[in-house]
């Protein structure tokens, strides 16, 4: 089917697109130093990753409100958070960022959680020289896309190492199976790191078994895993599928520990219900940490939103704090100046000390949490902290 059948019409449409795009570039004016500071947040507020989007929005909102109530930044200017939903789709993520930059004229961006969507959107921010901080995209490649892309969470090579070490040392596992979501860069990267680290420790890992986001039924692949009788299973995808995987594994009589990454943190994990036993995840922070910084954050979040903050909310909160710190040190919201300030960030956040390294990543410890089902709710119980080497 041809959308624009006539060649002249097609040319006109093409011309229109080019002109609009070019206008977008030219119209980008520098912040004039007065009024609210416009910060963009793009998030998966609907779709598969809605829980990620909601948490990152709430975390950022809380930080923005705290900053504005405390007198704002750069001599009393308030932060205005402009939010775009990307429907959990990578192509919409890059559209959202284009809109935030060209139409809403934001001076900096917060987002995304899922690495795949950050990877899709980051080149746009880089092209327009708008600094972007991803709160929770752990895939290694994210910050390699350009010098305007920063992150404040650990990266998957480290997360994989943590999970492999915990499985090998603490759980005593020697043989492992891995399930990965082939559509998610996060899951693929994490799987690769787990396999490498678990093998290096002396364990055996069978070939990773792949599925696609949105698959409803895992019985067939789980039955194959059952035949190999591994000591542990790593399920490296996101929470929606993780819940079904855990549940169906238990239905098939598989009681071995199942381990996941920070991608398990989401409301729909609760669907795993009683099957959520003997399950562990690596995470960015633990809400039961007695540190007053953490407890203050947990208390104000609970008061503002009426629920417990998850690690995504905490990271998003930290991302705004890091950004505002950079505004202050740069003395302006000018893209290159903020970028330079971000590169030398060192902020004490809720999720730990956030010190930017030369690759625009931070080096932080990870926590291992046990996932349990108690009184009709999921609980993440702190087990141990594993520091980077």
């Amino acid at each position: 089917m041809k959308l624009f059948p006539h060649p002249v019409l097609r040319l006109l449409v093409l011309l229109g697109v080019v002109v609009t795009a070019a206008a977008g570039c030219e119209n980008r004016t520098v912040d004039d130093g007065t009024g609210d500071i416009r910060v963009g947040l793009y998030a998966s507020l609907t779709g598969d990753g809605a829980s990620f989007g909601q948490s990152s929005l709430e975390g950022a909102q809380l930080a923005v409100e705290e900053i504005n109530n405390a007198g704002g930044v750069l001599g009393g200017r308030s932060i205005q958070l402009l939010v775009e939903d990307n429907q959990s789709r990578p192509e919409e993520a890059s559209n959202a960022v284009t809109k935030l930059i060209t139409q809403d004229r934001v001076v900096a961006l917060i987002g995304e959680v899922a690495s795949r969507r950050t990877l899709a959107a980051a080149p746009v921010a880089q092209r327009y020289q708008v600094p972007m901080i991803t709160p929770a995209s752990t895939n290694e490649r994210v910050t390699e896309l350009g010098d305007y892309i920063f992150r404040i969470c650990f990266i998957d090579p480290f997360q994989g190492e943590v999970l492999a070490k915990f499985a090998y040392n603490d759980l005593g596992a020697r043989r492992a199976a891995v399930l990965r979501d082939i559509q998610q860069d996060y899951s693929v990267g994490l799987t690769e790191s787990i396999v490498r680290n678990f093998t290096a420790l002396g364990g055996q890992v069978s070939d990773p078994i792949s599925y696609s986001s949105g698959d409803p039924d895992f019985r067939a692949v789980l039955t194959q895993i059952r035949a190999q009788n591994p000591d542990v299973i790593f399920a490296t995808g996101y929470y929606t599928e993780a819940a079904v995987i855990v549940r169906q594994a238990r239905e098939l009589g598989m009681e071995m520990p199942i381990l996941g990454g920070d991608g398990w943190v989401g409301d729909a994990l609760a669907n795993g219900r009683e099957a959520l036993r003997n399950t562990f995840i690596s995470n960015h922070y633990s809400g039961d940490n007695p540190d007053p910084v953490v407890q203050n954050f947990v208390a104000s979040y609970r008061q503002r939103f009426g629920r417990e903050p998850d690690s995504i909310a905490a990271l998003s909160y930290d991302a705004v704090k890091v950004l505002v710190d950079a505004f202050e040190r740069a003395g302006s919201t000018n893209g290159p100046a903020v970028r330079d300030a971000l590169a030398t960030s060192s902020v004490a956040g809720v999720t730990g000390q956030l010190t930017m390294d030369a690759n625009r990543n931070v080096s932080k410890p990870a926590v291992i949490q046990e996932v349990t089902w108690e009184n009709g709710a999921v609980r993440f119980v702190y087990r141990t902290t594993i520091d980077p080497d």
Partner: protein, 299 residues
């Protein structure tokens, strides 16, 4: 061996789901010669009706078998009405147009339900409440849950029930007559409009029952859930011979087994391709399907 048996059970469970939906496709096709592409989306509506009913009745985290039955019947009633409305407002106006017009209308209705569903229900997947206590039965090393057992059972009962309705009842005779020749059936005093409406109501109610049952076993529901499952069920109906009731059953089970078989290999990500590969093959080799025949049926 244990693994093989387990995979066969997995395949049967999955196949029964396709069969249940394929039965609806086949019935509408049998009467109207129309492939009702919206059927998979009525299945989705059934699951969502069940979701809201179950929440309204407070069945979330509070399993009860009578409650589950009420929810299923409620969802079936809602979808029966929706099915009749779709027929009345989308298909009836184009009934005397070329068949392609109706087919395109069906695709339109399907898209309307899918994306309308995203507006009304939201695109975020929801989790169907556990209305019946989940139990796993183990036989040797082979495990099956009570929900999957229920789906297989219901699919078989529905198949025999439909066979009975179509071949042994008055309305079934009217359906067959309408299928054979709409104009002549009318001349013989059959109220064909009512027969067609009944067919849609029955087919849609079955889709709703399927939606609720499947959501019990695989609790993730979203507005696009009927798209892929519906297409695979359609392939199942074609494989079995579209218009044939036992064919839909056999086709569904075969697709389920093949898909599970492929998922068990290193090519698990190609599982969705199986059904469509089968569709191409069957259209080339035996377009009438396994049970289909080109012979004229005597009414």
């Amino acid at each position: 061996m244990e693994t093989l048996l387990q995979q066969i059970i997995n395949g049967l469970s999955l196949g029964a789901i396709y069969a249940l939906i394929a039965l609806g496709y086949t019935m509408v096709y049998g009467v109207l010669r129309l492939i009702n592409f919206a059927h998979g989306d009525v299945y989705m509506l059934g699951a969502f009706s069940g979701y809201y009913l179950a929440h309204a009745l407070g069945l979330d985290g509070n399993p009860s078998v009578p409650g589950a039955i009420v929810v299923t019947i409620g969802a079936m009633a809602i979808c029966a009405v929706v099915g009749m409305l779709i027929e009345r407002f989308a298909y009836k106006p184009v009934r005397h147009h070329p068949r392609l017009t109706a087919l395109i209308t069906a695709i339109g209705v399907s898209l309307l339900l899918e994306y309308g569903g995203q507006v009304v229900f939201g695109a975020t997947p929801r989790f169907f409440p556990q209305m019946i206590e989940s139990r796993t039965y183990a036989l040797g090393g082979v495990q099956i849950t009570n929900q999957n057992l229920l789906i297989i059972l219901v699919a078989v009962v529905v198949m025999f029930g439909l066979e009975f309705i179509v071949h042994r009842t008055r309305i079934g005779k009217a359906m067959r007559a309408t299928s054979y020749n709409l104009q002549v059936a009318k001349l013989m005093g059959i109220n064909t409009d009512r027969v067609i409406a009944f067919t849609f109501a029955l087919g849609s109610a079955l889709a709703a029952a399927g939606g609720v049952l499947v959501a019990l076993a695989i609790p993730r529901i979203d507005p696009l859930m009927g798209l892929m499952t519906g297409l695979k069920a359609f392939v199942a109906a074609v494989l079995g011979g579209i218009g044939s009731i036992p064919g839909a059953m056999v086709g569904g089970v075969l697709i389920g087994l093949m898909e599970t078989g492929l998922s068990a290999t290193a090519y698990s990500t190609y599982r969705d391709a199986v059904a469509f590969g089968v569709l191409i093959l069957i259209l080339v080799v035996r377009p009438a399907g396994i049970f289909g025949s080109t012979a004229v049926e005597k009414v």
